[in-house]
Structures are given as structure tokens and as C-alpha cells.
Symmetry: C2
Subunit: 337 residues, 2 copies
């Protein structure tokens, strides 16, 4: 459908050979063709509305100008900015992104992975933490270029782009200390995500350093439901309530909001809450959420940059790019009473 006009048509009209047309229309080779011929070819191409068939080109050049992006779930609000960051860099270089969602399923991830490889993507961006058993490793063995974003590389020699999670947690704790909090709880994300561990460890270290009484509870997912569940459980266990909770991400923090409201506990008067990520509209929640802003767009853009660099020159190895984060103080944290 659609693209009836081929390079042969242009060649015929311009009175030259198809090979010459190809050379005339490619940046890299256009200086191999006579100036006047070049003009004729361009004119003919324009007249016919010729656009090269990228499938045919891809077959010959062994590249698809396509990048596969593997994420858990596009409706998780942190991913749209990441994807757009990726896209911004890709588009300007003529690449396109094919985004697939795994919904946290290893099987789905593998299936999508195979499908992308089959499509001859020129590279992959992994944004899932959940590939514990290392699809990335397999990708590396198969000679596929890739980078990680929002997760570490788990030992596989691919570059990784992450936010400075430890620093974000540190800033959150410092903020809480300043408000007089001493009993703090961390809601840790599921263990399959590398970010969970890093944030939890930073929390423990930070508490030790600041002399806080810190506790850690693990959640089953990075979701509102899991956050609420964890908090509900805490209420039911009758253990002493912390005066502040540092949630593993904004969704967990929202779950905390729900649980607190359900139990008639006021935020921030009774319990302060800090999120992580500064997801879109976090400032419009009730109460406006204090949270750590992670530069998702920039992370995506940087990941794409590293991938393209890898594609058109040598592999970079397991370098790690850490982008700075920033605590955004809003209304969900307040002085302890």
C-alpha cells in the first residue's frame, strides 16, 4: 500500500541508474555524484514524491532505525516522561521507539524481547527492574546494544542512567529531622527493583547517621494498593505509629494517604509523608505531596544518547550516569507535635 514509487522510477525519470540515485540521495555518498546529475536526481525524486522504503534499506544495511523500549507499565506516571525523553533524542536522529509493557511479568518481558530482536531493533532500553534473571545478560551475549534506565545494570556491562536515589533519601531524612521527627518508617519497594534496595539502604544509613529510630517495611509492589496495604497492616499490628513515613515512591505514598484517612489520622498534623519521584500532579494531591523530584525526562534523553553513542561507535562498557535529584517540600510534611 501507499508507497508505489521506487528508486527505479526515479532512476528512469532522471535518466540514470538506480545505484546513482541511491548515492545521490544519501548524505554520505552524495559527493560521489556529479553536481548536475545530482540536481536532476533530486528534481526527479521530488517530482515523484519519492521516499525510500526503509524496510528494503534496512534489509540491506542491516539496521532498522528502531529502538526497543521495555517498561513495566506505561500508565505508571513516571514512564511517560522517560519515554518522551528517549523519544526526543531518538527522533532528532531519525530513529523511532517501539515501547512494550511487561506488567511485571518475566514471561511477557521475554516474549517482547524476542519479538523486538526479531524486528531487528538496533538497540534496547531496559526500564524494568523486574528482569532479575537477566535478559540483559542474554542480550549482551547475543551482541545486542542496550542501556538501563532507572535501574542499575545488575552486573551486565551496559551503561545505566539513574537518579541519585541515596541523596534523595538523605535529603528527605534531613528535612524530617529539621521538623523534629525521630520515629520514621520506610516503605520499601519490591525486591525485584534495584531502586528498592538502594533507597532502603540509604534510609538505614541515614537513620544511623542522624540518630533516628528507623524502621523498614517491604511492600509487594510499587502501587497505591500495596502502600495502603502495608500501612493498614501497621495499624492492625498495634505497633507504635511513626511520626513520619518515607515512601519508596509516590504511589506508595498515596497509599499511605488513603490508609491514614481511613484510620482517621491526619497528614501532616499526625503523620508526615514523603514520596519519591515527584510524579505529575503530585502537587495537586490532598495534601500536596512533599517528594523527591527525579529528572525523568533527562534520564530518558541521556539513556537514548548513550545508546546511540554505543551504536555508532564503540561500546562504552558498564558506565553509570547518576543524575541529581531535588527534594520538593509541599504540604504533606510538617513539624512533629
Amino acid at each position: 500500500m501507499s508507497n508505489r514509487v521506487t528508486i527505479a522510477d526515479v532512476a528512469r525519470l532522471a535518466g540514470v541508474h538506480a545505484g546513482t540515485v541511491s548515492r545521490a540521495l544519501n548524505q554520505r555518498t552524495e559527493n560521489q555524484v556529479n553536481h548536475e546529475t545530482l540536481g536532476r536526481v533530486r528534481q526527479a525524486a521530488k517530482q515523484l514524491g519519492y521516499a525510500p522504503n526503509s524496510i528494503a534499506r534496512g534489509l540491506r544495511t542491516n539496521s532498522s532505525m528502531t529502538i526497543g523500549v521495555i517498561i513495566p507499565d506505561l500508565t505508571n506516571p513516571i514512564f511517560p516522561p522517560i519515554v518522551r525523553g528517549i523519544d526526543s533524542r531518538l527522533t532528532e536522529r531519525g530513529y523511532s521507539a517501539v515501547v512494550v509493557n511487561t506488567d511485571g511479568s518475566d514471561d511477557a518481558e521475554r516474549l517482547h524481547f524476542e519479538s523486538l530482536v526479531q524486528r531487528q531493533v538496533d538497540g534496547l532500553i531496559f526500564a524494568t527492574g523486574h528482569s532479575g534473571h537477566s535478559l540483559a545478560g542474554e542480550a549482551f551475549d547475543r551482541g545486542i546494544k542496550a542501556v538501563m534506565v532507572n535501574r542499575d545494570s545488575g552486573g551486565v556491562p551496559f551503561p545505566a542512567v539513574v537518579g541519585d536515589d541515596a541523596d534523595g533519601i538523605r535529603a528527605s531524612l534531613a528535612h524530617l529531622v529539621e521538623l523534629g521527627h525521630r520515629n520514621v518508617l520506610h516503605l520499601e519497594g519490591p525486591p525485584s527493583f534495584s531502586t528498592s534496595r538502594i533507597r532502603a539502604e540509604a534510609f538505614v544509613a541515614g537513620c544511623a547517621e542522624l540518630g533516628l529510630n528507623g524502621r523498614v517495611v517491604q511492600c509487594s509492589a510499587y502501587s497505591v494498593e500495596a502502600g495502603q496495604q502495608a500501612m493498614d497492616d501497621l495499624f492492625e499490628s498495634n505497633s507504635k505509629l511513626p511520626t513520619a513515613v518515607v515512601a519508596g515512591n509516590d504511589l506508595l505514598a498515596l497509599g499511605v494517604y488513603h490508609s491514614l484517612r481511613l484510620h482517621g489520622v491526619k497528614c501532616p498534623e499526625d503523620v508526615s509523608v514523603v514520596g519519591f519521584n515527584d510524579m505529575p500532579f503530585a502537587g495537586d494531591f490532598q495534601p500536596a505531596m512533599t517528594t523527591v523530584r527525579t529528572p525523568h525526562f533527562e534520564m530518558g534523553a541521556e539513556a537514548a544518547r548513550l545508546l546511540l553513542e554505543q551504536i555508532d561507535s564503540a561500546p562504552r562498557g558498564a558506565m553509570k550516569v547518576t543524575l541529581p535529584v531535588e527534594l520538593v517540600v509541599r504540604a504533606s510534611t510538617g513539624p512533629v507535635r
Copy 2:
């Protein structure tokens, strides 16, 4: 990179011709090959980990198993669910989606359109209202299959999937009337979106029918800023404040929240606000937003279904699928005092 093993390798190992391998490995033709041979081929393919090169296949079959999805902006919260709905239908049929963002620019839209056509996408899904000057028409003339989602087809004979916007507005007005409101304002979206007009017209018609005093103000974009701007302007104009505003979408409604807060006007005590779309987390805003839930995921899924149907059989023409919407009453609407 990656895919070293070709159909010729499999043929060699199985001791047959490449053509036979191709027939053996395709659903449609596998009954053309002897049962025992088929076993041998499958075994060989498995042993070598063979996966067909979809670029090569695409060149021959003139199909890429790829669908282009053109949206304004992925970070607009209504699009992730739509995209996932599309994806859900596409994936199960072996298709992939390439999503591009236009940011409302006609130029960007055209560029992306050309790029997608060049990539030989098997079809397109338009989710932008802003293609006034009818890329869709051009697509149709070029014989490209497409469907519209969340916008009408603007006269081009492609199927369109929309929510029942008029009914949503009607329900909103009925709800407000029940609460005693009589002076209502509609914040209309920008004229380039077909949804803007439809909602505004339904608003006017609804007010007439219910005997309400309705006013309409047009916003420059479907964004928080535009909503706030429109409301700020209203305050500055010193005209009489309505007791309720029916926003063109949730982002505009959020803008109204901001403006009201800025001017010390309470919602819902002084002014009720109704949104449109029920974007994710609308229930977590301050106050929790009363809004019309649009089935975005289903709209995406239905659009993809219609497109695939169009691809593997006859075109359906300009049919229109209208999905039901539902008013979700939360805390941003209350009785007039």
C-alpha cells in the same frame, strides 16, 4: 548484530530447501509439507534458535506488522491508557505500535506521518485533534488504512472511536441542577479539537433544556495553565462568578482549582467544579474531583480492533463507535449556598 542464524542455516541442517523451511514454519502453508519433514524442520529451527528476520519478511510480503500511533503528548494523562488499550489488541496479533508525539504542531505531525509511511506501517491511529488540515484525508487518498480515536473523522471515511461526550456533559449538568446550581460556566477546549465543539454544544443545549444560565469561555489549550488563565481572566473581568464550572477536561479543571485557591474562593463551598476524562488519580486531588469517566483503555482497544479488521479484510468506511461514559461524583461538587 544478534540474529546470525538464517533460514538457509535451518535448511542446511534439516537437509531441505529454504523454501520448504519457510513453508514449514508458516501457519498458513505448513500443511503443504510432509509431516515428517515438518518435524525435522521444526527440530532444526529450535536447535539453532531460529527466528525469522521480520525486515526481510516485510520486504517480500509488503507489510511491517507495525502500526503508527499519532498522539499530541504522551505525558497528557489520558494517552497512556489509550496507548495501552491499543497495544493490548496489537500485541495479541503480533503487531507492534510506534507512538509519536506531535506536541500540537502540524509540522511535527506531518514529519512523523511521512516517517511512519516510509517505515511502511500497516496502518495508523490518529489521536490528535489538531490535524485540521487533514493529514487524514491525505492518508486516505494514498490508500493508507487508519482509524481515529478520541476525535471524529472530520469527513474522512475512516472509522472513529469516541466517548459519549454529549452524554457526559448532560450528566454533569443534571448533577449540578440537582445541587441547585443555575449559573454555570463551561471552559471550552481549543477549537482545533473536535471534542471541544461537541462538549460545548452539548453544554449549550443542556443549559437550554434545563433552563440554566450558561456561559462558555474558550481556552487556548487543554492544559492546567490554560484553565487557570481563563479563570484568572474571569476574576479580573469582575463579571459575576458562576456557582459551578464544567471544565472541558480534567486539566482545565485543575487549572480552575488553582485559580480559585489563588483568589481565596473555596471549592466546592463557593464554586463547584466538574472535570472530564477522570484521569488517573483524579480522586486524589484536592478536593477529589467530580468528573466524567471516559473509557480510554477500551477506546484504544476498540480502535486497534477496527484497524486490524480494516487491514485484513475490507475497509469499513466512516463508521463511528461511541462508548458510554459515566459521571463520577466526588468532592468538588456540592450544593449551592
